[in-house]
Symmetry: D2
């Protein structure tokens, strides 16, 4: 958003929706406002329930409201990022309303419903800004015109690159008053989201991870799961852990401001769970990470990542190995930290036709 | 639907929605009932307005209601056909709710928003039944696993193949009391739908076509346009034509029963407009067709089709040439008329995983 | 809207929705624009189908979209008129969002679902502007505080009072090119809407009315029904009549501009159907009217109205009696033609609390 | 529901929605299932956000889904209870779809948006089962026909009457493992919901109540607020209290099973907050209660209730006075505990017309 605002010929309009507006996910929208961005519209989309039915209907609620918002704001380009339900709602609204749709982070491979949704968004989009070279190739292979597919790297790396990630600064922030955790000492980060295509297994999956954490006995920063179908299952396992082990040195977070989050990733001894940030930001930072289960299967990654099954024993073993290994060399596969400006420039300088055509080389 | 009912191991559940339920599109749902199919649910999806905004919101209305319907009917496979707004609503609902989504008519190339939507549906679907060999190749190229992509031909050909298409039968049906048209004599068919990505141009486009029709001075069967964004524009041009030329030998139709429609296509001197049926059924029948404008651009076709611009002069010239040429040889590019049974058999015999994986050869 | 714009301290924001936006109801929104009003938002609400299910869901579609519109426009007062599905959607949105809701035309008695909906809207509203004295008493009886209930008369009378209603002007307008009807000669007006609580009977009801019209053999201006559940049934009867009697001197209208409509009512020999305008504007104009069936049962009326059953014979007899009687004396029961300015003044000068209290004298 | 099942001529169909389905409100739907009731449909309605906008849109989401559910289940009578957003959604759906709507708990007086919504529901309903005699009179005064308005008492009293409310049983249940609270000893109950028409003040209001609780220094059972607009504000105050006073003898509840809840109310030293249960069940039980603020203002109550402002000092003083006074005599103003069977009998034996008529004595 910074880069777009700073690019001649572009005007920024911001629509926030879904989890960004919700208190229980830390209300990231307020961070956007504090950073000085004007929010043109807030669109509440999440039907409570966190199961496949409500997740599907949340796409509908988002779509119903985003259509008139796009109609009113009347942008030339609708930019959307990732592969979540509000992303596909945005892409459908933009495409049906004859806007140029620009998609960031297309062409990547993962598990969960995100895998299908991400590629569907690619086929609805006119401009593609991929985070890796292989992703670019995959987007082109799907029939997109190479001249509208750009490997810019991932914007998340930009933020990492431009932040003070030192442990000393981190210690000073005292995120939310860290009663039980001392950031000056070693800690691990746990962040495990539901796998929508394995709905119903989340509780058991998370219990195994927490079993490993108990055995590891290190300081732990734990983030609550995102609001996909199955979120409740994981939260329940975490709450039982919290009640069961009130004295464990763990601190819980609903949301962490982007810069602090980058610093936390940077100084962790190991990243544990199934977050894509361990792969993206992690590749650049070189922080050891253990990706659990199928959610990030197939995602392109640097050397810092190893995979584990859902079993506590396996998780524990891999985490210990990673901690023993220590930091990895920084990798640029997810970009060099200048994605934002590249994306803004390409948007300003490219004029794809509204009518898409399947590209056959 | 017949083939599914007749296949051991499959049970049919039918959900009808969108235009099929509407009186002004001939209420095709009642034909379904008359044919003896039980309808499990009727889902009204169309927000009136026929512009890009209401078309987008109609996706949302469909999605909101299809989600609980799929939840309740709890099918193993959700089958959807084509590339329209109710199709993508169905595919999203099926995919998010962890059902196997089977898509018919994927991989084809056209214009309008359908082009984007069709490929997005492919990326949300687990089983693919394409109408042509090239479509199959395109679906695979987009990253679908070849073992779940079948070129079965198009089910519309099945119906053509199994119907009595003779002019003598057609004359007997007296479709809706054809006051001004004598089906025993030569006639042309006009069927022109809106091009959503050219919203705002439909009125002028249709006026040119009608100008050509006026000059052609042949008996004409004309179908009202489908309810996409821009439908009103085209209808308006038709109504003006009707008021302007009350004596022209033209008969209007909201909807025609499938068998009669096939017979009409078969006995026409020329098919004029931008309907895909001129290409699909037309290829098998060998009826000369003139496809106007961008809507069917790029769609694979047999020798019976030639393309025209939106200009009356060009249309008239091409139509005359086609009439002069007369019938073409039947082609099998859209199938041999056994698509239904093939699709049913593959559905019964194939078990793709719910978690999709991008296929990299 | 004129009066609000002209009142010191008030600023007008206009939201149009539902039938006003639809081509098949004459797109009244464009009249609003031509009259120089700025439209802040257009909200499409009507799910096609015109049955009880789609009518209910249209309330939902309206409500879903009106909520963010009210949130964004942030008015002090939300004004809504009548008793239709978009009206209750507006009242619910206004009330839940802690706005002062002002309701015009409350307290009247009729048939159909409107009867229930109108009083429900009263109970959601803070300010009440009734069209008659008895309506005011009824609103108060329902527990509304008398100091917030004003009998201002009906705004529809304002328009009648300020228009040139002469036959000579009417003849000049040549509404839509009146091929078959000569407005300089005698004519009747037919306007019959569906009765939602008698869904399924509309076709037969309308057929009886048209039977009477056939026997009457007078020039007829006929309006298509509004889009309530059952609209299709009535339209179907009209279309059959049109096909059956192509030479009958009848002219059909989707919508008529307000001033022309008033002139038409004024110069008609008799008004036939179940429109409330026959009672409202009719009372002031003194035009003889025959109200058919239950739709306007119980509505307060002047001497110009008599009631008929749904039977052709009865309708015909009553119409002939009314034509014989000729014009009635003008009545002020629906106001003196200054409702607009009174409403605007009361809105500017009254400050009811957001928290409503049941008024117990 | 028990009574309906046991009444000859009635068949029960159950639709659960809204908070009953949500984990964070204790998922009451599972209690319904455990009690042996078959649930015909689960309808998720709550858009997260808990502000006036999302509350309004939750009505829309409920309505959109309830309409096809009612269409499919096709009941003769739609029964709904209370005054919440899912209640008005149900009443609108029932009324527009030409079903008889039966409303329980109409005619009462309170604060918040519930006050408006409750009376609007009355005007949409055909059968009325009020909890008190005065409520019955008020429903009639609003224009309802006395022969369809029955004072049956409140069904909540039925449950109280038929439960073992003894402290000894309560102690045995050990609700959720009451770590910090001993139910064998004295305790108070705190239950404070948001006041939607005072949105934005909830945090301060709750802080005052919690200030009083701190000074009172008694064992406390505290329930989380319902999901109305403003819920987050109250929850936030509670969480701060919990962090601030980790050692305070307080136990938190998301939901309590009905029988246990009745026993808790029965054995409490004082009930503090703004719950209607303190008035309803409280009247029959005679438990001293302090109603805070405007939410229950005007609600008919027995001697057990006194009112307090939002100020901590006032709350503390009133609570101490109530504890000193001790139990009150049981009152029957909210019924004698036989409401269920009366309601079932009246439903089975009454046949109001679908077309409502304003009753003018």
């Amino acid at each position: 958003m910074d880069a777009i605002q700073n690019t001649r010929g572009l005007e920024l309009q911001v629509v926030v929706s879904s989890g960004m507006l919700l208190e229980r996910f830390g209300q990231a929208a307020s961070v956007v406002k504090e950073d000085g961005f004007k929010i043109s519209e807030e669109v509440y989309t999440s039907i409570e329930g966190e199961n496949p039915l409500t997740m599907t209907q949340s796409v509908a609620v988002g779509l119903m409201q985003l259509a008139p918002v796009i109609n009113r704001l009347n942008p030339d380009v609708v930019i959307t990022i990732g592969d979540r339900y509000e992303t596909i709602a945005t892409a459908i609204a933009g495409a049906y309303m004859n806007k140029i749709v620009a998609h960031v982070q297309g062409g990547e491979l993962t598990g969960t419903i995100d895998e299908s949704v991400r590629h569907a968004i690619t086929k609805l989009s006119h401009l593609h800004f991929t985070a890796t070279q292989k992703s670019r190739e995959r987007v082109i292979r799907m029939g997109e015109n190479p001249k509208y597919v750009f490997n810019t790297g991932c914007p998340s790396i930009d933020l990492v690159r431009n932040s003070d990630l030192s442990r000393s600064r981190l210690v000073k922030t005292k995120l939310g008053g860290l009663g039980q955790v001392d950031l000056a000492k070693e800690y691990v980060v746990v962040m495990q989201h539901p796998v929508t295509t394995e709905f119903g297994s989340g509780f058991d999956q998370m219990r195994e991870t927490l079993e490993a954490i108990k055995s590891l006995k290190m300081q732990t920063l734990m983030l609550w799961p995102n609001p996909d179908a199955g979120s409740d299952e994981i939260s329940k396992a975490i709450r039982l852990f919290r009640e069961d082990r009130p004295d464990f040195p763990v601190q819980f977070f609903k949301n962490i401001e982007p810069e602090d989050f980058a610093a936390i990733l940077n100084n962790a001894s190991c990243l544990i769970g199934n977050s894509s940030s361990f792969i993206r930001e992690g590749s650049f930072l070189g922080t050891p990470a253990v990706e659990i289960g199928s959610r990030q299967t197939n995602r392109e990654h640097a050397a810092n990542v190893i995979y584990a099954s859902y079993l506590a024993q396996d998780i524990l073993k891999k985490v210990k190995a990673q901690i023993k290994h220590g930091r990895y060399k920084s990798s640029n596969i997810y970009g060099d930290g200048r994605a934002g400006e590249k994306i803004a420039e390409y948007i300003a300088g490219t004029n794809p036709p509204v009518q898409k055509t399947f590209y056959e080389a």
